[in-house]
Amino acid sequence: MSKILVCDDDPGVLEVIKIILEENNYEVITASNGKGIQKMIAQTKPDMLFLDIWMPGIDGKEITKLLKRDAQFKDMPIIIISALNDTKDIAQEVGADGFLSKPFTITDLLEVVENNLKKK
């Protein structure tokens, strides 16, 4: 079973992603902010990371860039989630593997997971 770490400051979004992914047989770990996310990744070793780009007090773009530079994490797919209209551009800019614009459909969510786990 693939393990997915979801990091978003909105508890509603966090819960709904967890429900959908668990319903589809993925193991889900959640984080409600980006603080200590590297430590968490090192401990839980997820197969994929969903990261909200816009969280208070933490820069999702910087986290992505840092992780992609780190040999230990660079192969873990990172999916940017955001309610900004140019999520796609941001994802490309920071070198993320995929993006999910809010609001999304269940199909959108599952597709982005499948496509990126396959790539891996």
Binding site: V13, A83, K102, P103, F104, T105
Partner: protein, 455 residues
Amino acid sequence: LSLNGLKPLILNGRIAFGKEPYLTNDVLHDKKVSDKLWIKKHKIKSFAGYPLILGDNLTGLLTVFSENEIRPHTHETLSLVADSLAQGIGRLQVKEALTNSEQQYQTIFSTLTEGIVLQGTRGEILAANSSAQKILQSNFAEMKNNSMNRNNWTNYIHEDGSPFLAKDFPFAQALKTKEAQKNIIIGIIKNYQTTWLLTNSIPLKDSKGQAYAVASSFQDITQQKKLEKQKDEFISIASHELKTPLTTIKSFTEILKMQFQKEEKAQYYLGKMNREIDRLTGLVNELLDVSKIQSGGLTLSKDLIEINEFLKEFIEDIQAAYPNHKIIAQSIIKQYIAFDRHRIYEVLTNLVSNAIKYSPKSDKVILSTEERADKIIFKVKDFGIGITKRDKKRIFDPFFQAQTTIRQSYSGLGLGLHIAKEIVLKHGGEIGVTSKKGIGSIFRFSLPLQTNLKT
């Protein structure tokens, strides 16, 4: 000679009317003279009158009454004197008019809140009002020393933050192209602060068409820009905040739909809810788009896309959203071109949903394409209420919505077509509409037939 009771004015009137010199050496018996009493009293023998003509206009009269005869020679001399007088008056009038006009312009020039600078061909300042000095501040000194073109040009930026090169300055462009440079925005960075100026430059041309100076106006729009930025940030944050709960609602609606797969009514209600959520999302996106367009921040991310495949997918999606109308595809070409998938999808969604919205009595919309030498034309044809000539001019303006005679109201923010236009223009295409009231409309837009992802 008392001029009291000078009444041979009828004579003057005639001279004025005829615009020709007049001479009589027998005033007493001249039928044209009315006031014989005055003539007698002053023993007047002769009269000569000369109109003072300036161009086509009469500016005055020179009249001579004499107790002696006025000889032809004198008459001729007086006639010449009248001409010189007329010319003298003319020069005085022109001078006065010039002085007045100069005064008027000086007053306007110095009281304008807009800065005005007149520069010679080398950039030297010929004239400037006090507002210009106030607005340009230390840059004014640079302009005055004509060092603006050489130094510090990296301190001048475009709206998007890129450097404003000296050769692109409105002054330089006005000189080069000999055409007015209108509404150019320049940012000046000084001490880590940016002052934004709205400038207009107009070349002054001599009779041979050579530009010999450039008049430029400067308006400080820093405050305006700041407010715009605050507005954009607000809209950006507000729409982000609105979309977050929408995300949760949408997902839970979908989860419920899956859970109650076998219950028809639940499926129907949840389907409705889902569409309304999408509509709300669309409205939030429209607001965000318009704010972006207005701040010049609309960016494209182009891919090479096959039109036939793209439209097939689009029609499938839009058909699902509008099950009561049939979306018919006609002569769709197979061709790869470069465009922003998401944005053109948005344009098509706008045109087709508009077509449906404004055709309550028809049940079909036709989508077709056409290939031209250098572009591909997309057409959306409906059989709806049509657009009046008056509305046609404003239909692509923001916040515009067609009013119908029955005062039927159509929902939406009235931003869709404006956004569509901006997206198409940004792609280098065109958008337009032909329509007949009561018969229907055809919206068409073009995309350049190119495969370059960068331009």
